[in-house]
Each structure stands twice: as structure tokens, then as C-alpha cells.
Symmetry: D2
Subunit: 143 residues, 4 copies
């Protein structure tokens, strides 16, 4: 069960494969980002709105563990969850599953809120922070 | 009207933008490919099946005309159409439209059927060719 | 002979291949851009300087003709040439050659100078335009 | 000092930036791969040779820590080091530095040797393994 994890699906693109015949490993962080975008919509605070307000969520850390490869034309699901949200920091966890629900990749990203104007870390405004707090769970999605 | 053109939608990814603040121009050919994949499903001959049968549709020519840029988080539609299908060749045309139906990019790709084993051009088997012939229109999608 | 075409070399990345076992066709426009960057350095007007001065060279048209595929770990050369430079427009032509000098891909891009501030076409300042005029040749690189 | 770490340089491509105005975070794993390719050449066991012999080095884990962003047209250096090589496993560490030698990104990848034919883990042949053992250092590059 992906408790509190937000699912979004996509179909694997041909351009995302490499000559091993499977999805290239640097594509999954892009899918994590797709998951974050979908989650930010689901809780009513689209990331595009953050940027319009002059706030960037820069990636400070990334981790991926690859279990099984995804393949061209498969439908995969990205389960995205807020693990932690603090004054200037958000941590997300991701589980990517394949057509039969099997886990393909797991990962986490840690982000720092930065002012676009100054390039310096800033506090996340309460109205952007609150909806993330409501869905935060404090650890990896249990399954 | 996109007569006989097959529509598929996607949401613009953050990774697809560049420092101009819009989608990088080399992303649209990847979206054309997404459109081809969707069309091949719609007519019951998924491209993955071609490859399982040892046939590759290699891109021989590509053309793109950029009208207006797509932006992060926008939903765009790729209208894909078969322009021509011959013994060893398929030509597709594409129109990508933005959230308000405005044309963003137009393009065409010309493909040659190649045997995966020999690397040489081969004839497209009739059962793969027929459904493409049924939807072929012979020119750019009229709108 | 690549008369007046500026050469730059790169080694094919694994991530640039796809499951056909060769470089994905949407990678070549990225290499064209690498060629433009190198040419702009060679004539003393780095593109990064254009952007610092508030000018963008937006891609208006792209064409590629694929002759032979590039493969992982090969060294390829991008020959870039200015075909035309006008008040608000630049046209480049490219020939990409493989390890033995064979032609892999040919292409052209047409660009429009746009003001970053207004988003509107603008005239290219004479000091940026002149060095491009000096190397312009008016047609595809002869070989 | 990057003791025993192999350096390779590249110039940041425009396509590698995103609308934050800096290199997209999913690009650095691709640069790590460029570093591995360069290291494998330097020790006389190009990765392309591994694949010709039916061996794949699949990525099992990836970690990145982002310190400072790289920007378009900058020359960056990827310092790659073998941390560990075992019967079926190789661990690499990377430090990416900017034009002034400042650390931009650090990371590690863990790989498992897999047979292309069977898809199953296999032992790395001694002649491929030995040169990696000679340069292995057992921990992150000290600087």
C-alpha cells in the first residue's frame, strides 16, 4: 500500500531507452520530478506558482536504488510522498512501479527553498508550506 | 480541424525547459515520437510489436518549424498523422498545440523500415502496412 | 573539404544511445547546438555574451537528414557553418562526420534574434553581426 | 588533491540547462557516466569492450550531492575514481569541479555486472577486473 503517496502514470518514451534495451538510469530522476509536479497540483500548490512568487526548490541531494528496469512503451506509476517539510527544506520519497505493480526504482530528493532574486536560502511561506505538512508522513512510503 | 490526425496529450516537464525559460527545441522531436507511439497503438500496430518482429523504423529525415514556445507545466497536444506509406517508407506529420489550441510547432519525419538483423532496408509486411494505409492522408493535417 | 566550416569533436555518450543500439535521432540537434557554441567562440562572439546583452537566438526552423548512425564511444566531428546572416536572422548548416570521416548527419537551423525583455524580434547589433558575416558562405558546406 | 581520481573535462551544453538558468540536476549522472567512460579508456578497458564481450555494468545505486550549480558554456571537470571492485560489483565516486576548481557536485554509483544474454549477475573476468583493482582506492577522492 502506498499510504499517502500520490500516484501519477506515464508511458515510457523510446528516447528514454539506451542501448542496454531498457530505460537509462538518469531518466528516473526526471520522472521523480514529474511525480513532484503532479503532487504539487494535487495539494493545490503547483510548483509553477512557487516560481512565479520568486521561490525555487533547488535539489540538494538525490538518491536512487534501481530494482528492475522499465522498458519502452510500458506504463509506469510514480508514487510520490512528502517525507519532511521544514522552514527551508522539503524531502520527497518516490517509488516507481511497473505494469504489474512491481517496484522498479526507489529514491529520495532533498530540496532547499531559494530566492530567485538573491540566490539565497529563504523560508517557505506558510501558505505554501501548510498543504505539504498535511500530507507529510515522515518516512518512505510503506507498500 | 485535425482531420484524421491522432491526438495525444502530455504535460511539459521541468527537465524539458532550458535557460530561455521555455521548452528546448530538441524536445519536440521526442514529443513527435510520443505521438507516433500513440498513433501506432490507436491503429492496433504498436511500434513495440514492429521491433519484436525484427523491424526498425529508422528516422531518415526530420523537419520542425517553431511557432510559439511551450512552457513548464502546460498541457500540450500532439496531433500525429500518416502522410505517406510505401513499401519501405513511412512519412508522418505533426502539429503540436498549446493549452488554448494555438499551434506551437509543426513538423514531419520520414522513416525507412530496416531489418534489425541485417541493418538493411526491408519491405513492411502487409499486415503492419495496411492499418497505416487506412489512416494515411497524403498531406499535412488540415486544421 | 569543409570550407569555412568550423570543426568541433565530441565523444558519444552512453545516455545518447537508444534501444536500436545507436544514437537517438533527437540528440543530433543538441550536437548542432554544441557546434554553434564552438563556432561562436571561434569568431570571438560567444553566445553566452549575446544572452548577457539581452539577446536570444531562438530556433525558428530545424532540418536533419540522417545518413548513418553514430555509436557509443565514437568520436564524431560537428562541422558548423554560417550560411546566412541578416538583420534579425542567422542560418547555420552542419555536417556531422564519424571516426573515418564519413557523413553521419546533415542539417540546418534558422534562428531569429529576440529581445529577452520584450520577447520580440530585434536587429542584431553590428558588432555581433560582423564576425558572422565575415565567415558566412551562403550555402551548405562543400565537402 | 584528487588522488588517483581520473579527470575529464567538458563544456556545459545549452540543452543541459533548465529554466532556473543552471544545469538540470538529472544531467550530472550523465556526466558521471562520461567520467566512467574516460576512466575505462585510461586504464585500457573501454566499457564498449565489456559490452562486446556480453557484459553489462548495470547501475544499482546512485547518489548525488549538489553544492553549486554549473552554468552554460562553463568548462567543468569530472574526477572519477574506483572505490571498490568485487566479484560482481564496482563502486565509483565522482567529484565535479567548476572553472575555478570549486566543487559543484559529488556522487557515487554502484554497478552490478550482468550477462547481456541471460540478464543475470555474473563474475567480472579477471582481465577486466585487474586494472580496476590497481586504481581502486577504497573511499571517496580526497581533495
Amino acid at each position: 500500500m502506498h499510504n499517502r503517496a500520490h500516484p501519477t502514470t506515464l508511458r515510457v518514451r523510446y528516447a528514454e531507452t539506451d542501448q542496454m534495451g531498457v530505460v537509462h538510469h538518469a531518466v528516473y530522476p526526471v520522472w521523480f520530478e514529474v511525480g513532484r509536479t503532479a503532487l504539487s497540483h494535487a495539494i493545490g500548490r503547483p510548483y509553477s506558482e512557487w516560481e512565479r512568487r520568486g521561490l525555487l526548490l533547488m535539489v540538494a541531494e538525490l538518491a536512487c536504488r534501481y530494482r528492475k528496469p522499465a522498458r519502452y512503451d510500458e506504463e509506469v506509476t510514480i508514487w510520490t510522498q512528502v517525507c519532511e517539510i521544514a522552514s527551508r527544506k522539503v524531502v520527497f520519497a518516490y517509488t516507481i512501479t511497473g505494469p504489474n505493480g512491481e517496484v522498479l526504482v526507489e529514491g529520495e530528493t532533498c530540496h532547499v527553498a531559494v530566492s530567485r532574486a538573491s540566490g539565497r536560502p529563504v523560508s517557505i511561506p506558510p501558505d505554501l508550506r501548510a498543504p505539504f505538512e498535511r500530507v507529510a508522513r515522515g518516512r518512505r512510503p510503506s507498500r
